[in-house]
Structure formats: structure tokens, C-alpha cells
Symmetry: D2
Subunit: 389 residues, 4 copies
């Protein structure tokens, strides 16, 4: 029997707070029980406040990929021209979904250690003013980068295109300005910076998005992929299309409460601090970040290049087995060449940078790679010093 | 703030055992953590044993409707003739999904307080030997009835048609003979007789079903609706298509362990006993069962006709508010004319018949309906007497 | 392996609410952690409000017998004359502790199905004006009776004697008027009408009690039995004499919060209602209550006489094994001749009277005793009818 | 509201494993419920195996100080000469209890950064062959030292004296050879190297100890302080003297299972490894250990001298507030001059040395003390290197 890990510092799901674990231990109640109906309605309201938006957000009952696939299926009509922005594996992947539903897929792709240049988006609009929908990933989890969505959103708005944003791993770690950017359909994951279980998709839709979906005859209804089915499901007097994931809702309400209690700005600052500490630690070890510059690094997780002499699988296995610390490898074609250290939600505290840097550093050392373990941890902690901050 | 219910005796989700609640309180770990990979693989193996089947079953990460919709989308090809068997609202509803994917939909429909007559299925095959797929609901949850799937399955097998079975609320409460019937694609829900949370679909597929799906060019892939994507996902050396619902898996492994520890036959006997006690109690109260005969009643839940002078909503609200007991109303068009009392999983013990009959009986009495509360509970308990059994 | 019970309807510990179980799942933190210090201080404050007293109560870290023994050891000085009031096994037992510490022990003893007559206490004071301390049990758990402590307390106050009250199973089920009676040293148990775990003693002391303890050279200090050691321990700036029971405190704070959220009067009314329903049910079954009259019955639990043909052990075992319902037998010499049904805290709802009466009734019937199961439950439910109340 | 700590690396209670937290979430059941009786009996048996002793150990239902006080009260007779061995605050304190019960108290006291020299014990026996009982602390928690109990025990045995051992914080972290030393009355705490809650005393008694207690007319009975009352209480057919602490027993059974699953030798090795890493880390920071040599350091926790320029309170507060890490200060007169870092039970893994050294190091740096944070963590991790071990 394999033992439970001591630390989950991965790209997500991330380890929950003690308070979230307690919330998970609530008995399962019937979906129509007045207690559960109230929990569901107040959870939606808390989430609305947490998102800083006007109308109630919508919860879909499957992992964030459900929300992302449903967004493509619902929002993209068969005669749409879609611009997909690919600065990483998730962004690239979204194009495959978009292509299923649209007339024509355009794409701007950059190397996966870079982010999208807003100017390139503007240029594309100049060339193709018929773009109806743009899709972008905010925090590109496989690369540890953060796209400049605010700038991109402004360009889309100017050209009258709707914007789909994958904010799965960014929400909670950094500002997601749903209405201000503006974005039209944003998918958030509860298992990243909120620190909950992964079985839900949290959805923001603008009025324009709702109008476009309603006008789209191919938008799914009476289906797992339907967004429309759930539009009013948060209201206690409206029946759920199907049984919601009761336990996931208990956890969600707890994690959003914790987020609001702390305050979004404080949470973002905490993520920024641990991200800076982690980057400092990696550089201190003598290793390199995967993104081309610190400016484009995501506050949710940090990707680093594996040095010669170590493969991702060996590093992760040793780190988990000897130090109890679970980290992530690269994703897809980057599996063996990158490591990714998550610092989201309950682990977005500087002391976890000491854990990850010490564990990764000593692992590499154990595997024969020369790194400066002490210098790494010292740099991480100095970055997080209460005095300097 | 609404208080938590004392008893959840509904059509499901049902109240969990204390052991299941403890399992829910496990920290969320990364999907690739070796501990979780082992949990996932052993859960699949335990589920295989619990199902009594040869090959590992498959877990889809959304409530049972996901599995049911995915079954239609994957198994039914565009030139198939499908026979849908409708003896209730769920059975009727499946026809709508089937119709999306098939060339022609045939249907046998009976009043919703009856079950399908196997002879009618045989007759339909005589008329239409081109039927490729048949769909049936085992325990028709909205009606509290149990279709004779063994007989129907034998007919389908004889005629070379594949059989889709909705065993969402029957598995665990009564024998589901996956390979023996035989069935080809069966969907089981963890939130009914297993007593877990509702966020998963548990899937059995026969070799024929797999072959048909692989031959179906329209079967979803790279989609939430894809069954194929998850075919080998239980193997620790195969990556998940997307993040599985970690907490739901913890609960599933616990509920299946509990089921195996007790033994399937003992669990079925327990459900039969509480169902008989509940029916005796309802008749003792002076009320009528909804199904036309006791023989066709489901062991998972009991549907009764509301007497004159009481509406479903008023009864349920009073029962929940004054006695803390949550029961279900009718479903769809039967919302106000039926009540449904669940006795699944952890509540499939005769003492819960005393709870439901006492609570429903006193509620009706409080609302001005003449019922024999004492006679009802006495009949329920006598039915469950240790001496008589 | 023996299965977990479905219902715990005993003389206590009683089954906890779901909310209390969640509170138990809090990680153990260091006793000096600021989080725990705050929990401890606020728990004391909430308990003070729940008790309706002026000064912070005191928590001793062992089951209620610790508080009771410590009360005798601390409050009773070597030249004291003590009057012990024995209307049951617990009251009788307290005399043995009192006798260890006092110069002379007087006792008023009544049959254990009766309660103390205040006039007999007045008469004793007339005879022995030198009585310094009186001891009485409020809810005599082994007998299911409730002593008239208000009247007794007034007499003690008039004669200048201090009053020790065992309110272990009464607090939360009925008013305990600490300062109004007045009482001087009262011990409350968290595992009865509050529905928590049993590892603490909750202590109220009047100023007179503190003064007497401080003047008592034999009062324990630097000992598990010391009350004084803990006098200021609730203050975050005062060190604990030894490590407090961290988990028990988590549960206490939760149960007291639940009690205050409901409101003491509502909780007392709920206990009165379920107690009346249970008594009605027992009489309806055709059985007899153990106390000589309903007026003296405790609202926390109900004791009944076992009919001929059944022994306590057989009834309890059958009830637990066949119906999953755990009840209590008699205590001490009453082990085989009484049954006791608890209805405290989370089980102080009328529906639990249906459970206990149905389970006990059917058990007796199974064992060959003639009882009216239906009439019993009907009477219990009618007593609890929302209409009649 | 103060937030929950991220890390509890104190002298105990220590942070529990996730598995222990789950066990805490078990509903409270009645003490006489067959499920609980079985849990209690099997817990005692598991503890017997974990202790490696012949007869069932005994559980007392209060924090370890209860067991220690009860040991003095029961084992020490009024005409006994007792030798108390004081190498720290706990050892010194035990003398005060012993003095209450014995005819004459002898004491060997050494500076609290040293341990007892067995030769001094032998010398004392030469001088005073009438010593009947010797008391010693194994792991002196306030000092972080480990007394050579094996050697001391052999001397006691040779001279026919009984030996009381405080093994509260040593059991589970290092071998406690109950029968082999031999010892006569040993008290173990569940909240240290087992990682449970603190509300129990786990007691080993030799046959000689039982005989001496039975012959001692002053040994407490019918009291919280009585050991005898509980002698057979683990047997399902023997009634408990009073209600045991149900929840604490659930946690105990879980922690002992975890200990046995890992294996005692593996657990001791793990504690030795993290202790060595922590000491290396402290020296690497440029700080000094409190014990005079590494050889006498306890594997359960490490005490270090505070450097000039920092007080214990300030260091602990900063470390907790800025890094979420709770550590302990010195105890009693050493409160402000020492820090103590616990590495017991679930935190006895080398990665926690990185946490404590990084947190303490950066805290000191933030407070203006010059330390080598990087060198400290590097030394700790190098000590724990998988390669070197």
C-alpha cells in the first residue's frame, strides 16, 4: 500500500485546507432538501461576490474540461470565424474543440515558453475583421505562463468579437476581471487557487454570450454539455436538470468562504509572493525557468527546465518517495523536460517554497546533478522575508 | 439558516454511512500521485468484483446522466434501429437521447405504474428483426417499479441486438447480472444503493459494446461524452483524459468496500426486506401503492399514491419541517400525485420503514387525512420481525 | 467485525449531529497555538452565555466523573457536615465520595423511582443546622427522574449551606438555573444534551464555592483532581496546567454554538416534546414507566420497567442486532429490570420516539412478550403531532 | 479570527496524519455499544503488540499527567524510599508528586542540558539499599534529551527496586523496551510520536507493579486517579468504571494501526533521521544545541539555544505569523532562552527539517540575528539525503 503524500505541490488538484476537508465530511443530502437548496443558492451568491460580477455565475457538474468543451459547443456557431490563441498545450488544444463547431479556425501560435503578443491579435483583426469569437488561456498551466488577457480583451471588445477565457488555474491566484476586461465566457476551476476538489466547472457568461448561445440552434440542450440547462438552476425554486454533485458543492461553498474571508487582494498578493519566492529559489539552485522571462510567469505555478542528467519521471518519483513531496512534470511533449511546482490556494505561502526548493534540490543532488540546495532555499526565504516585503 | 435534515429517505442521493463520510474527509491529492493512482486502480478492481464481471468496469466523471447520454452517443450508430422500452419517465426520456443518434426509433410504452412485458419485446422483434439496440431501465426510479430485464435481455441476445440498461438505482439493491443476462452497456449510479455521492457514472460494457463503439465513427472522442477516452484510464500507467473527481473516487472505494464486506446477497436481502416492510406499512396506513402490483415494485424505493386532501408539496414540506424526514415527490407529471420513499444503501434497514411510515402517516394526519399511523408502523415492523423472517 | 449502530438512543454518550462530527475532524493543534488559544477562550465564553452565568465557567479535562470527584475533594472540608440526597444510584454514589472528605455524612434516601421531597430537606436542616454542604443530582440518569433542585436550592440558600449539583445529563435538556437557584458547584457533561464526546467536565462555581475551596487546605492542587489549577486557564495569556484535550474542545465549541443558535428555550421545548412522546409510546405499548409519576420524569431519558418474560440483556442485544438501535439497560442493581431510552441533544426530536418505540416494541414482540407496537408508535406520534402542539 | 497553522512542529501535541483526522470523524457511540466494545478491546490488543509486551496495557482517560500522577499515587506506598532522577523540568516535577506519597525522597539532579549517569544511580543504591522505587523520564521533553533508561533499569532490577518511566514523548520515536529493560510502570502519551490527540494515558505495568499496587492500602480506587479500576476494562465483558473518551479511542486505534503498519523499527529510524537532519540544520544555521552533546539528544524533539538578540516569544510569534509554523519555546524557567522543534509522528520526515530550519532561520534573520539560512537547510537536507543514507 502506497502511503499518502506529505505535500501536494503540483499543477493541481492542490492540497486542501483543513477547513475544506471538514466541509467534505458533510453527509450527502438529497438535491431537493431545503438545506441543500439553500447551500446551492448561497454558494452561487458567494461565488458571484468572489468573482466580482453582477449576475449569478453558473456551475456545471464536471471537471473544468466540461465547462471548456461546453463553451465551445454552445458559443461557437457553425458559421463563426474563431481566432484561437495558442501559447501552450492547453491553448493549442482548445483549437481542436473550436474547430469542431466553427466555419473557420484562425490561430496565433507562439513558442510555449512565451505568451501572446496583443499586437498580433490586433493585426489579425485588421486582416480578418470577420472574427466572431476569440479563445485564450489566462494561466497556461502546462507552461507556467500568464497571458495578457486584459490587453487582448480590449482588442476583442473593440472589434466586436466575443472572448472565451480559460481561467481555470488563474482565478484566485491573480485578478480575473470578468466584466472589466471584458470577457464573455470564462471557465474557472475549483481545484486550483481555491483549493477544492476538481469535479466542477465555474462559469461566467456575459449578456452577449447568453444572447449568442440562445441564438445558436446547435447549442446543446438536454445534455451534459448544455450550459443553458443550468442557467437558473441556482434558484431554489427551479429544478436541477440532473443531480448536482452534492459533495463538490459543499467543498465549493467552503473554499469560496475562505477566499472571501481572506479577501481577493490578499489572496493575490500571497500567490505573487510565493511565486516570486519559488522563482528565486529555482534560480538560486542554479536552474532555469521555462518561461522566457519572469514577467510572464504565472502566479499559480512555476515551470522550470530540467537540467541535463535528470529526467522528469526520475525526479518526480524520487521527490515523492524520499521526501513525500508530489510535484508535476511537464505536460504532453514537455513531460520529461520540465518540472512544474504548484503554489496555489492553501499552499500559496512562502514556506512551501522552502519545501519545494529543498525537495527538488536535494532530489537533483541525490540523482547526481549539481545544484546549490542551500542557496536555493536561502534565496526563496529571503524573497519572502517579512522585512523585505 | 435551514437545519440539516435528520433523515434522507428519498429517491436518491441517499444518506451515506458514517464510514463513507469518513472517506470523504480524505485530503484531495493530485491525480498522478501514486497513492491516488493506486486508489483508482484498486477501486476499479473492487468494483469489478462487486459487479461480478470479467473485465474492469469504467468510471465516467459526472453524474449517471453522463453515462446514459454517453451510452446513446457512443453505442448508437446513425443507421441503427433502436427499440426503446418506456415504462416510466426515465425510460421515456431515454428515447429522446436515442432518437438523436439513430436512424429510426421504435418504442414500447406502457402505463407508468406497470412494467414492460417481455412478450411485447419478442413480438416487436418478430415485426422488426432489424432492431440493433434496445434500451431499458431496470429500476424505474420515478415509478418505483422494476422491469424484468433478465427476460428482456434473453430476447435481445437471441435476436442479436445490443442491450443498454439503466441500472442506476437497481445495482446494489437487487441482482444486476451484467454478463449473465447478458447486457451490453449498463450504467450504475454510486448515489443510490451504494450510498455514495452522485458525481460518477459506473459503466459496464460487453465486448460487443466495445466493438460497436469502436466501429462507430460518430462515437465521441476527446470529449466529456466519450466513453472510449476512459477505456484504460484505470491503469496506473495510463494517463487520465482529464482530472478525475478525486473525492468522488475516495467515496466510491469506501462504498464498494462496504458492499463487498457485507456481501451482495446480504445487501439484496436487506433491500428486499425493507422494501416489503415499507409496502406493508403503506398498506397498513390505509394508502395505495402506485405500481399495479407488489410483484413489480422496486426494492430500491416505494412509490405510493397521495390520498385525496393532500398535495405532494405540502406533505413533503411538513414531513421535512416537523419530523426532519426528507422524502421524494413524484417526478415530472407525477410530482404532486405521488410520494416516493427511498430505502437504499445505508437506509435499507427495516427500522427506517418505521421512520418513513411514522413520519408520512403523522404528516397526513396533521394535514387532515385519515390514516392509521399505528397500523401502518405495526405492519411494517411485523413484516421485518426477526421471528417471522 | 461488528457493524456501527444505526441509532444511539442510550443514556449517553448520545449520537452527535453531523456538524459535530465535522468539528471533530479538525487537525490537532498545539495547545499554545494562537488558533487553539482563541478557540479555548471563545469556547469558554460561549459556554458562559449558554449557561447564562456571569463569570467564565471552567473546563476540566476528563469525563464528568472527574468534575464530580474534584468537587467533593475541593469543596468539602474535613470538618464539614454534608447532606447527601440520594434518589438514585448516582446520588447514592456521591455520598461515598463526600464521605471521604467530610466529618459527618447525613443522607436522605428515597426509593429510586421517586425524587427528593424538598420538605424532607427542610426538616433535616431543622434538625441539623450545622450542615455545610448539600449534594444532589438533577437528572438522575440511572432512574430517568428529575429532582426539584430549584426548591432544594432555595432551602440550602436559606440555611447558608453550599449546594453541589450533578447536572451532567440535565443541562441542555431542561433549565439549569445556576445563579438563580442558586447553586454553588455544578457539573455538566458535554456528551448528553449537548451531543458531544464525553471527555470533559464543564464546571460552574459560585463565588462562595471559590471562597470555600481557597480556604480549604486539603483542596487538591497540582493534581488531576484540582479545580483551582484551571481557574484562569481559559485566558489566552495564562498557561494551561497540563495539555487540554484539544479535540474535545473542538467538539465542545461546536456543540455549544449549535445550542446557542437554536436557543436554550427551544432546545428545552424539544426535549420536553420528545420525552412526552416517548412516555406516551411506552404506555401505548402497554408497558410501565419506572418513575412513580410522569411529573418526575427526566426530559433527557425515559426509564421503563421490563415486562415479565424479557431480560434487559436480551432486549438490548436483539434491538441492537436486528434493528441497529442501541438503548441502555438499567444501571447497577437495576441492570436487568429496566430499560432506558435516551432522547438527548441531536436525538431529542419526536421522530426518534417512533424509532425507539418501534424497535423496543418489535423486539419485545419477537421475544414473545405481548405489546401493542402500533398503539405505541401511534401514541408517540400523536403526542408529537404538529397539530396538537 | 486567527487562522489555523500550516505546520505544528512543537513539543506536542503534534499534527496528525490525514488518516488520523478521518478516524476522528467517527460518530460518538455509546460506551456499551458492541461496536465500541470491540474497538476498545482490539485497540488494547494492537497497543499491546505495538508495545511488544505480554499482557494487555491499560488506558487511562485523561492526558498523560493523569497516568503519571496515578502512578505515583498507586505504586508508591507510605513507607517507601523513592529515588527521583531529575535531568530536566519534568523529572524534577515528578519528585513533587512522589514526595506526597513516600516516606523519603532521594534525588539525583543534573544540569538540564545533561542526562543521568547510570553510575550515579548505582552509587546511590550502594549508599541507600532501601530504595524501593525509582522514577525517571525517558525523553525529557523540556530539554530535548534522552536518558539512558536501559542502563538505569538494569541497576534498579539488580537492586530489587521498581522503576517508573515517563515515556510520554519517547514511545514511538525510539525503542521503549518495557519488559526487557525491565520497567515496572511506564506512561506513554498518544499525542507525541503516535500523532494522536492528547486525552489519554497509555500504561504498562509489570506483574511486580500490580502486586505492589494491590498491596498498597492507599492506592486510589473508585477515583479518577485509580489505576486498579481500569485493570480489566479492556475486556468486552467487563464494565468501564466510567465513560471512556470515545473519540480519543477512535484516534488511538488509528494511530496504533498506522504505527504497526509501518513497523516500529522503521518508525524509530525515521525519527532518528529527522532528528539528525534537524540538528545538522541548527548547527548549519550557526546556532547551538541545548544538550551538551548530540549523543544525548532525544529523537522526538530538538532543543536549541536562542542566540543573543532574540527572545523566545518574539521568535515563536514571528515564525507562526509570517510562516505559519508553530514551534515550542522552552518550558518553565527556560521559556525565553530555548526553542524546541518537534519532529514526532507524522512530522518525523526529513522534509519537515527543511520547514523548521527555513522558518526558524528566516525568522531570526528577519529579527536581525545573523544566521546562515541556506547553510542550515542544506545541511539538514544533506543529512537526509537518500544517497548518503
Amino acid at each position: 500500500m502506497i502511503t499518502e503524500p506529505l505535500f501536494t505541490l503540483t499543477a493541481g488538484p492542490v492540497q486542501p485546507s483543513a477547513e475544506t476537508v471538514r466541509a467534505l465530511a458533510t453527509p450527502i443530502y438529497d438535491q431537493f432538501d431545503p438545506y441543500f437548496l439553500e447551500v446551492y443558492e448561497t454558494t452561487t451568491e458567494k461565488l458571484r461576490v468572489a468573482m466580482g460580477v453582477t449576475d449569478p455565475p453558473l456551475i456545471m457538474h464536471g471537471e473544468a474540461v466540461l465547462g471548456l468543451e461546453a463553451a465551445a459547443a454552445s458559443l461557437i456557431a457553425s458559421d463563426d470565424v474563431v481566432l484561437n490563441l495558442a501559447s501552450g498545450i492547453y491553448g493549442k488544444g482548445y483549437g481542436y474543440w473550436a474547430a469542431r463547431y466553427c466555419r473557420e479556425l484562425l490561430e496565433i501560435e507562439v513558442p510555449y515558453n512565451q505568451v501572446i503578443d496583443p499586437a498580433s491579435v490586433e493585426a489579425m483583426f485588421q486582416e480578418r475583421p470577420d472574427i466572431a469569437v476569440v479563445a485564450v488561456v489566462h494561466s497556461e498551466t502546462p507552461s507556467g505562463t500568464l497571458n495578457p488577457v486584459a490587453e487582448i480583451a480590449a482588442i476583442c471588445a473593440q472589434h466586436g468579437a466575443l472572448l472565451i477565457v480559460d481561467a481555470v488555474s488563474s482565478f484566485g491566484a491573480v485578478e480575473v476581471d470578468f466584466e472589466g476586461w471584458p470577457a464573455d465566457l470564462v471557465v474557472v476551476g475549483p481545484q486550483k487557487a481555491l483549493g477544492g476538489p476538481p469535479g466542477l466547472s465555474l462559469m461566467y457568461l456575459s449578456d452577449k454570450a447568453w444572447a449568442k448561445i440562445e441564438a445558436n440552434p446547435a447549442a446543446p440542450t438536454a445534455s451534459m454539455l448544455s450550459i443553458s440547462d443550468w442557467r437558473d438552476a441556482h434558484r431554489a425554486d427551479v429544478k436541477f436538470p440532473f443531480t448536482p454533485s452534492v459533495t463538490e458543492i459543499y467543498a465549493l461553498t467552503s473554499t469560496v468562504e475562505q477566499y472571501l474571508r481572506e479577501g481577493p487582494e490578499a489572496a493575490w498578493a500571497r500567490h505573487a509572493k510565493v511565486a516570486a519566492a519559488t522563482r528565486a529559489g529555482i534560480l538560486g539552485l542554479g536552474l532555469e525557468l521555462w518561461p522566457v522571462s519572469e514577467e510572464i510567469c504565472s502566479p499559480a505555478l512555476t515551470a522550470l527546465k530540467l537540467p541535463a542528467g535528470a529526467t522528469g519521471g526520475a525526479v518526480r518519483a524520487h521527490c515523492r518517495e524520499h521526501f513525500g513531496v508530489m510535484i508535476s512534470g511537464g505536460y504532453g511533449e514537455l513531460t520529461e523536460s520540465l518540472l512544474r511546482i504548484g503554489h496555489m490556494g492553501p499552499t500559496a505561502h512562502p514556506i512551501y517554497a522552502a519545501v519545494s526548493i529543498a525537495a527538488v534540490g536535494q532530489t537533483l543532488s541525490d540523482l547526481g546533478v549539481t545544484v546549490q540546495v542551500g542557496a536555493g532555499v536561502e534565496a526563496a526565504m529571503a524573497s519572502a522575508s517579512a522585512v523585505s516585503s
